[in-house]
């Protein structure tokens, strides 16, 4: 259930994204949106915001324990976990898409593509990356007595995603940066990165569900 604290996190994410875009634009209008998206928004803000939202939706517990209140009455833990992960992905996608679109609009400069196209592109990249992040954090939440593995996921994303080697292929950060115009991991094309993000969302989500008992 989304409680006021989660709404506060969402509002905070929008606020920080807006401030980042405006600050970049004031510094140098040319390419401000791209810098804000690659740097502050997707580089720092969204992973933390998505982790917080994932923790709110999945509860700060191990994933199979989160499913216990319904599973004890005969629901399959895997079905309940699938629903929770899908909700987490949906909420994350909405927040990331809106924050990315807001950054693109506020940081827009005349040399960039039309504002609507820029906002829309940023939004779908944000939604796709957020889905992959949500699934990655859900998989992490199956590790540890209280699902502390989700912090390990975040750490791996920062450490591996910052490299340009093969390891970067397995975390969402490098692909999101590639889609936003950053350095591609292993010279991967943008469509390939998009496909890998979608595959990650499915694979990590499926792995998280599979790690729950029936």
């Amino acid at each position: 259930m989304l409680v006021p604290r989660a709404l506060l996190v969402i509002a905070g994410a929008w606020g920080v994204a807006a401030v980042a875009a405006v600050t970049e634009k004031r510094g140098s209008p040319s390419g401000a949106a791209g810098r804000a998206l690659e740097g502050q928004v997707f580089g720092v803000l969204l992973p933390f915001v998505l982790l917080a939202l994932s923790t709110r939706v999945l509860s700060p517990l191990r994933l199979d324990l989160t499913t216990a209140p319904l599973a004890r009455f005969g629901a399959s833990r895997r079905v309940v976990a699938s629903g929770l992960i899908a909700t987490s992905m949906g909420v994350g996608a909405f927040v990331a898409a809106s924050a990315a679109a807001l950054t693109a609009i506020l940081g827009h400069d005349p040399t960039a593509p039309p504002i609507a196209v820029d906002a829309l592109t940023s939004a779908w990249v944000g939604a796709l990356a957020a889905s992959a992040y949500a699934a990655f954090f859900a998989l992490g939440s199956t590790v540890g007595a209280k699902g502390g593995g989700r912090f390990l996921s975040l750490g791996l994303d920062f450490v591996l995603g910052g490299t340009s080697g093969a390891a970067a292929l397995f975390v969402p950060r490098a692909h999101a940066q590639n889609l936003l115009g950053g350095a591609p991991p292993l010279m991967l094309s943008q469509p390939a990165s998009a496909a890998l993000l979608a595959a990650m969302a499915l694979a990590f989500g499926a792995a998280a569900v599979a790690r729950c008992a029936p």
Partner: protein, 361 residues
Amino acid sequence: MSLVSLARALPKRARIANLPPLDFSLEAGVHALVGTPDDGTLTIAKLVGGCEAPASGRVLVAGRDPARDPRLRARIGATLDVPCLPDAITVRALLEDVDLVRGATGTTDALKALRLEHWLDRNVASLSRWEKRALDLVLALSTIEPIAIALTEPGADVAPLDQQVLRDAFARCAEQGACVIIVTASMNSAIQLASTIHVFERGSIARSIPVDETGALVPGRGIELRVEVDLPRLLVAALADEPGVIGVDWDERRHRSMLSVRGDDLDRLALTLARAATESGASIRSIVPMAPHIDEVRAASSGLALAAYHAAYGAYGAHGPAPSVEKPADRGWQGGSRAARLSGWRAERVCAACSCRARSW
């Protein structure tokens, strides 16, 4: 095969909490497992209800693993020490969610049966811990075609419920072939709610006794009645010479109007009390039968086991054929208590002098 069977089932994080592996089997009926949290009682409902899988060992309900079988879980009712309820705004919405998961209605009727229908429109967040535990109990009792019901302390730390309705509900479940397990540290709760009492010690059942033979729990202790009376001094004086009374406890300073009266037979003791009250002119306000404390029961169990051990040890080392040592007359021994296990091990040793073998029960 037993309906509920735990074989060396070790709950998760049991080693950190120094909990023993659980090892017992139960058939259909209303069973009370009387033990303390150190004996692993708080993990029984979790394991039997399939809320968590054991770290090692095996838990079977009707031959299947509840932690891995959602259909089986739907037929098991369980209440934990901390209520584990689905998220919902109101009690009505919560009950509807549970009905939806079970694919049947019945939770609201169970709430009404316990005269709690006025909770339906209450906010779940506004319920106290006691009320949440009572709601959890209602949900467990509303299980459709139950196979097992495992309840953690249904008589303590819970909003007041009609005990007669609870007893009837348990009996109905047992008649349908379910194994109702009441896990409690209170002998009073066990006597009130169950039909068989099992003394639970370090994960195993040490003794089992039908509820109508609870006097055997502490042999020699007899029946104890706690009496509230307006003129206790006169009643004590009248009871002093009564042959049906074994003992009278009265603490004039701490509980002036309360006294405990012990005797061998409940009916005889009650009649004696009535006669003494009439003769002394004291008026009795309440009479409550007092169950022995769990520590008393354990002490008695250890004493009986020790007596058996000494009897066996007396034979051990003696030349010639070893005399047979009879099991104590007290019912329900399973040799599960620590002292009993110890005595069993010692008595099985072979005499070095003549190779005779002392037998133990």
